[in-house]
């Protein structure tokens, strides 16, 4: 640990420099252009014709992309080894680098005829996901979607359970080796596929016809009940859940915005009020006003200059007649309430007093009982 700390101390400046480089605009532009061009070229790579003609260019862009990605990874880990793993987008970077190196690894170690080579090649298309971190709007969208993941997962789990139940049922009913529909209900995996096809109501009439041909009694009821449950109820439950979530997140966002605005406004008002108070107290401390002990004395002179015939036109609600009316009514109600409250207190105290008078008679009685025992 000490050795590491001493190493860190020595190259702090370099680390800061590298960090500045990584955060700079120029670096971002390089990354975005590298990923974007590579995505474009990957798309071109799929066509054999173009691959044949532009082989060198595509290879070069591939090497360029891989080198930039690995160097970015190395730089970022160098700057911050511990905090690097906390950011989700950095983890995505690591996963994409691993995926990028897969075809090379397969070709090198498992030979060119490895059957899953084209799978590894296909996964290269995931590289475009690196672009997401550079766009603010996309990041917000992803964070919003992340909150719906739990509900989505739970609905999917419920759907899976339902399919499991109906799958076992269907297998037992329709999937026997002879006389049954072996192709579609023969084993659990195929049964799941059939049920998923029913849930997404795609081509289910063909499947139903197959069952009808073998003359199963319950097949129609089974299919219809499952379609009602899975397609109509479950898959539309998704929509309802999503609507609720988007509404909630939008409302929360707006509320936070409103709150933030109110806080900044209140702070500003606070500052201005503070300044005014200081100003007035300073005035009262001033030399020529030293004999004034309170604010009202301070304005005595001012008051004398005001004439009754001098009108003043005001715009705000606080000096208007409706406000005064409302205020007086409220004060009246307040008085009424307090009056009632006071009467209530008197009554309570009166009752307590009565209880106190009763008490000394009860006490000797209880003492007698104790004596008896």
């Amino acid at each position: 640990m000490d050795v590491k700390r001493s190493i860190r101390r020595k190259d702090d400046e370099f680390r800061a420099f590298v960090k500045r480089v990584i955060m700079s605009c120029f670096f971002k532009i390089i990354m975005i252009s590298a990923v974007g061009s590579n995505a474009f070229f990957t798309a071109l790579w799929t066509s054999y014709d173009i691959r044949y003609r532009l082989f060198r260019l595509l290879e070069f862009s591939e090497i360029f992309f891989v080198s930039i990605c690995t160097s970015e990874l190395a730089l970022k880990i160098y700057v911050d080894p511990t905090d690097y793993w906390k950011d989700g987008y950095n983890m995505l970077d690591v996963v994409i680098i691993i995926i990028t190196f897969l075809p090379y690894a397969f070709r090198r170690f498992l030979g060119k005829q490895f059957t899953y080579l084209h799978v590894a090649d296909g996964m290269q298309s995931l590289r475009i996901l690196k672009l997401i971190r550079y766009s603010q709007g996309m990041r917000m969208m992803i964070t919003a979607m992340r909150q719906t993941v739990y509900t989505v997962a739970s609905v999917l789990l419920l759907l899976f359970l339902l399919m499991y139940i109906f799958g076992i049922l269907g297998f037992c009913l329709f999937g026997s080796q002879d006389g049954g529909d072996y192709d579609n209900w023969g084993n659990l995996a195929v049964a799941f596929f059939t049920l998923f096809s029913l849930a997404t109501v795609d081509g289910w009439t063909d499947l139903q016809k197959q069952l009808d041909n073998r003359d199963f009694a319950l097949s129609r009821a089974f299919t219809i009940i499952f379609i009602l449950l899975a397609s109509f109820i479950f898959l539309n439950m998704f929509v309802g859940v999503m609507i609720r979530h988007t509404e909630d997140s939008i409302k929360k966002f707006e509320r936070e915005l409103m709150l933030e605005r109110k806080m900044t406004l209140m702070e500003e008002k606070q500052v201005i009020l503070q300044r005014e108070q200081e100003e007035v107290s300073r005035l009262m401390h001033m030399q020529k006003n030293a004999d004034c002990k309170s604010f009202s004395e301070l304005v005595e002179n001012f008051k004398k200059t005001l004439r009754h015939t001098d009108p003043m036109v005001l715009d705000d609600f606080g000096t208007s007649l409706p406000f005064i009316d409302i205020y007086f009514s409220t004060l009246d109600y307040q008085d009424m309430t307090i009056h009632k409250l006071q009467e209530l207190y008197y009554e309570i105290v009166h009752v307590l007093g009565l209880m106190l008078e009763d008490l000394p008679q009860k006490k000797p009685q209880s003492l007698e009982k104790v004596d008896e025992k």
């Binding site: 799929t46 997404t200 005001l306 009754h308 409220t330 409250l341 307590l352």
Partner: protein, 545 residues
């Protein structure tokens, strides 16, 4: 800072607010600093009043006027009105052509005529298409009239665009509806021009451009306000979904490119009866297939077809298809639906707010009348006690009354807070209102339940039980009352100063009374909770008084 308040008084935010309002209205700070020349003594209304204006101008030319302008919504100011008030228009000998063009365009006769022409264009086109294939020679004059009518309508549309250019060229391009109009008209003009120039090849393309005439009916969208609102709502909903659609496009790309690689074996296999053989052969085909899977069409047939080829691994192909179905067509589609629904709800809410605003104004008017009426039949009845109603003399009622008390105080605070338009004043009040708001919430729920109990006797706006309805009534109507156009509030200056002073003193007094009340209460409540055997002399004192 200590000398700001009276000796021995606690800091009361409401009183502070009143005082700072006082200072601001009379510009006391400048006055006390000796800058009485810099203090505005008149408001803008006095200046605009012709009777006072002369007197003001004679008194002192260096008077300062306080400006407090409330922006008022006067409705739409059309571009023609703006043009009319410009100097160069008023000073010129002849009115400019743009004014006449604008008048023609805004004339209702002209707009209705254009709408009629659009409808006529649609009908003409319909009939023309029907008769296109028939070779009946008797119908030839009819065809001729239809053609002439179509040309005439196009000519009038071009004229309208020229008129709009005349009235203001630069503003024409700023409105999207106008650009749309222009594009549609030019598009339907193009084949005619091309025909006239003598180009004969590629008749299919020309035919298609002729059919673009039908796009002219889309011009209708710009004319009707209802359709405009709907289209604007749609555009707004789409705008907020841009990132979602971009994300969807990214996923389309990923799955399309991956699909080409994954199903390379399937594309290359020599198996004979494969229905969907070419579906993953190329990037474009793969994109189309991914879209087909997105719409959940024949996905199981495609999957079973892929399974027919033994080299394509079953596991990966099933994973691919199922993953894409779950992600794309189930999750993404429902997200899009959810966003559309919330957007439309928001738009409808905004449209309703306008109507709600008007309703609030009407209610505030009624409320104002009620207040005035109420002040007339006041006082002797307010002190009538209603012991019968408060039969639960337990702490619950005390608590309720206290809450009501505090909440009324907080209501007054909120009234006063809302009255301040100046920034200076109501800063520190929200602290108090925030702390009291919780009590207010609880009390409003309590008051609503108790008002439902007690509302049996009184249904009208009356005093004895009215104070339970009072708060909600005031709260609802406050905003409307504030925004109402008030008559001139004219105060004599010294009365105004006195009013502010008294208001401030009133706050202090109210605070003191509250303290006394709390003091009295805390003497009693410990007695209620503790056992009756422990007696203290204090209750006797209060009973005596």
């Amino acid at each position: 800072m200590a000398t700001y308040h009276q000796e021995g008084q606690t800091q009361l935010p409401r009183a502070d607010a009143v005082r700072s309002r006082l200072i601001d209205t009379f510009s006391l700070i400048e006055h006390l600093q000796g800058l009485s020349q810099a203090v505005p003594r008149h408001t803008i209304r006095e200046l605009l009043d012709p009777s006072r204006q002369k007197k003001l101008m004679w008194e002192d030319q260096q008077q300062l006027v306080r400006f407090s302008i409330k922006p008022q919504h006067t409705g739409q100011i059309s571009q023609a009105q703006r043009l009319l008030s410009k100097l160069h228009v008023r000073c010129s000998q002849r009115p400019p052509l743009s004014l006449w063009a604008r008048w023609v365009l805004e004339c209702p006769l002209f707009t209705n005529f254009i709408i009629f022409l659009i409808f006529l264009n649609t009908i003409v086109l319909m009939v023309e298409i029907e008769l296109l294939e028939s070779t009946n020679t008797k119908l030839w004059p009819l065809k001729l009239t239809l053609e002439v009518a179509a040309w005439f309508i196009l000519f009038i549309f071009i004229l309208e665009i020229i008129l709009m250019w005349l009235s203001s060229f630069s503003l024409f391009w700023k409105s999207a509806w106008n650009v749309f109009d222009f594009v549609v008209t030019m598009l339907s003009l193009l084949p005619e021009v091309v025909l006239l120039a003598g180009v004969t090849g590629q008749p299919v393309w020309l035919q298609f451009l002729r059919i673009c005439r039908v796009l002219r009916s889309l011009k209708l969208f710009a004319r009707f306000r209802q359709i405009r609102v709907i289209i604007l709502a749609l555009v707004r909903a789409l705008k907020s979904m841009t990132f979602l659609l971009m994300l969807l496009l990214i996923f389309f790309y990923i799955f399309a490119v991956a699909g080409v690689y994954f199903f390379a074996e399937y594309t290359r296999s020599p198996h004979q009866d494969l229905e969907y053989h070419m579906f993953f052969s190329d990037l474009l085909n793969s994109l189309v297939t991914v879209f087909i899977l997105f719409t959940l069409d024949h996905w199981y047939a495609l999957l079973q077809d892929i399974w027919k080829v033994p080299e394509a691994s079953r596991i990966f192909s099933s994973i691919y298809v199922i993953l894409w179905l779950l992600l794309g067509s189930i999750i993404f589609r429902n997200i899009i639906v959810a966003m559309m629904v919330t957007n439309f709800q928001n738009i409808r809410k905004e449209l309703n707010e306008e109507m709600a605003h008007r309703e609030v104004q009407v209610k505030a008017d009624m409320f104002k009348r009620q207040i005035i009426q109420r002040r007339k039949n006041v006082s002797p009845e307010t002190l009538r006690s209603t012991h019968g109603k408060t039969d639960d003399s337990s702490r619950g009622a005390i608590q309720q009354k206290e809450n009501l008390d505090l909440s009324e105080v907080s209501k007054v605070e909120s009234i006063y807070e809302a009255t301040e338009e100046d920034i200076i004043t109501s800063a520190s009040k929200p602290e108090m209102t925030l702390s009291k708001k919780k009590e207010y919430q609880s009390s409003s729920s309590v008051s609503s339940t108790s008002s439902s109990d007690a509302s049996s006797s009184e249904s009208r706006f009356s005093e004895s039980v009215g104070h339970l309805d009072w708060e909600t009534l005031v709260h609802e109507n406050l905003l409307g009352l504030m925004e109402m156009d008030q008559d001139d509030r004219v105060w004599p200056r010294d009365s105004l100063l006195r009013y502010f002073e008294l208001l401030e003193k009133l706050q202090y007094n109210l605070e003191e009374r509250k303290k006394l009340q709390e003091f009295a209460e805390c003497q009693i409540t410990p007695q209620v909770s503790s056992s009756p055997s422990s007696c203290l002399p204090i209750p006797f004192c209060i009973t005596g008084s």
